[in-house]
Symmetry: C2
Subunit: 354 residues, 2 copies
DNA sequence: CTGAAAGCGCTTACAG
DNA sequence: CTGAAAGCGCTTACAG
């Protein structure tokens, strides 16, 4: 790989920094020298750690700008300070729903100068625990857990070590904030909407029973039926595990069992898409023959045929809020954040029972 | 926040490590002490950096296991060694296509004990350059760039600093490997398939002209037409910028312009979904009235109505390959990896012209 | 083959 | 208010 014409006597520095390279390896020390103060002082000014004379502050600010100094987060982390990075445990990096939340997190965090470290828990408590170890090993300043399977106790314990924000559950603990979307109400709203259209035989495609999200939505469904004076019928609920194919299977099963229904409430949009296909195969038309409403309001749901009515689940905002929460926790302020409530989005997959 | 009943005299260590905590803060030094050797030796054994007597090696291995030692990547990074982390520049963390690639990367990298640092470039060369700075600041060992806008020159320059693998282009440089999917052939295959079904008036929904992916697919379309003896007609191609709404608009535009066509080749599945909706609005049936084929083979495409024929784009494998490539580069071996070729996936959105 | 020592770039008690 | 010094946990010349 060595080129014959390469200059023979490059200084180490020259070797490391070709002309067209970004991010010069300027160090704290260089800034200190340039400003005529000690490294400690520069550090303190940068971190707002102590009161420093305006004069030196100016000199340092000037030097920082001139040299385009950017602190090395790795060194920072080692020295026991912050790493300006937040660990984010998501379940699957390619989930259409959580992907949007991740974008919200990344955006909010990067505005504050923080990096995000995304790791996938794969809906497995063990795996999530491993993620936490990895994240701690990397000295993240805090962790955001998007709806995991970790026990409350475990989460509480972690919060003793570093700030945690967790979505998808309600949990009170010091140094921890939970952000919970009202899935119960969402499930209820969806069902109530069907009831308001005159439907009485309403099937439910449930999500993974191991997720609180899923069970809460189901509970909402039951509650709505109850209030409408409609008897709950267990045979009308089929499980779809939150995936397209699950929704497909669930509807097939319902149909094969000879269940009669004029409406379907699906615990998420992905399963609703599977349901669409299953209905289509049986020549059952949406919404003429059966109405269907999803949950989550994925970007693609407005492009289904027909466009899917659904419950809006503010993924992006949830991401942003989680990021804000962890940032506030880091600053020692108790976050007082409100998750937007669920809302019905009416499109074309639902119609009044005729 | 201070509790009255808190024990007053906890050691610093006790404070930092509650009973139920994972990942003990075992250090290299502790392992060295336990094994009765120096820290240097432990380091060397762990890194396979030098030949060490079997005896000491055993003692160290034993100590490592017993103490469950896991090296601190932050310290490692600072000391100039590896951080065991790879930066991944994706364009948008919530892209249905790239999301799958990210999963492939994460999976492959974590098997090798590496972490992935995902950052979003947002299809902007400046932003991508910033990402590289951030990543370098965090001392990643290598960078994977998923189809960015960065110039070849810039990439080459970066490769002088650390190994780079880039997808979506063909570029030769030392310390850099490019992994290119054959978009030209994909576009050609899609079009040829339509031709083989008897279609002659084939519209094309193009992607963002700033992406090589997009222009290559378009080129494939033209080439196929050419070989089939069909004259290229510029008015039959409409731009959709790779998004659902763009596909929707593109078809509307085609229709409003009074263009006649019996088939559509869409440069990706997302735009095809938009096209579906636009056609549906005009009561044009797929595939009875017009056939349509997408590109990418997203997970959801088999749940469209009708299920979408498309060109398979191996996102997951591409992710895996990128990860393998960077790992090999890190080991100093020249990767010899093959990206799977495009393939037609026939579903129900295409039919012979009658 | 293997230690002792210096150093990576910062932070933070410790002393003025 | 501000330095000098030690230290974070590792790696890597430098000397045996």
């Amino acid at each position: 790989m060595k080129s014959k014409s390469a200059p023979l006597n490059l200084s180490k520095n020259a070797l490391k920094r070709p002309i067209d390279t970004p991010s010069p390896p300027v160090t704290l020390q260089m800034v200190a020298d340039a400003a005529g103060v000690s490294a400690s002082t520069v550090s303190r000014i940068l971190n707002g750690t102590a009161i420093v004379s305006e004069l030196k502050k100016h000199a340092v600010d000037e030097a920082v700008r001139r040299l385009a100094f950017v602190p090395n987060p790795v060194a920072r982390g080692l020295a026991g300070g912050r790493t300006l990075s937040i660990g984010v445990i998501t379940q699957s990096i390619d989930s259409p729903f959580y992907g949007v939340a991740l974008r919200g997190i990344e955006m909010e965090l990067s505005k504050a100068g923080y990096s995000s470290l995304f790791v996938s828990g794969r809906w497995d408590a063990q795996e999530e625990a491993r993620c936490i170890d990895i994240l701690r090993g990397r000295r993240v300043d805090g962790i955001i857990v998007l709806t995991g399977r970790l026990s409350d106790a475990k989460l509480r314990a972690c919060a003793k070590l570093l700030p945690i924000v967790v979505t998808g559950r309600t949990l009170k603990a010091p140094n921890l904030v939970s952000l919970d979307f009202d899935n119960f109400k969402g499930g209820k709203l969806a069902t109530q909407y069907m009831v308001s259209l005159g439907h009485r035989r309403i099937a439910f495609i449930a999500g993974d029973p191991k997720h609180p999200d899923a069970t809460e939505r189901l509970r909402g469904y039951k509650s709505a039926l109850d209030e409408a004076g409609i008897a709950f019928k267990a045979s009308l609920v089929a499980e779809g595990l939150f995936h397209e194919d699950g929704g497909h299977l669930a509807v097939e099963q319902l149909l094969n069992n000879g269940e009669e229904f004029t409406a379907i409430v699906s615990a998420n949009d992905q399963m609703a898409m599977g349901a669409y296909l299953a209905l289509h195969r049986k020549k059952i038309r949406v919404p003429q023959d059966v109405s269907i409403i999803g949950f989550d309001n994925l970007l693609t749901s407005s492009y289904c045929l027909p466009p899917l009515s659904t419950i809006h689940h503010p993924a992006f905002e949830l991401g942003q809020l989680s990021a804000q929460a962890i940032l506030q926790l880091l600053q020692g302020v108790a976050p007082k954040l409100k998750v937007p409530p669920p809302e019905v989005v009416v499109r074309e997959s639902t119609k009044p029972l005729t």
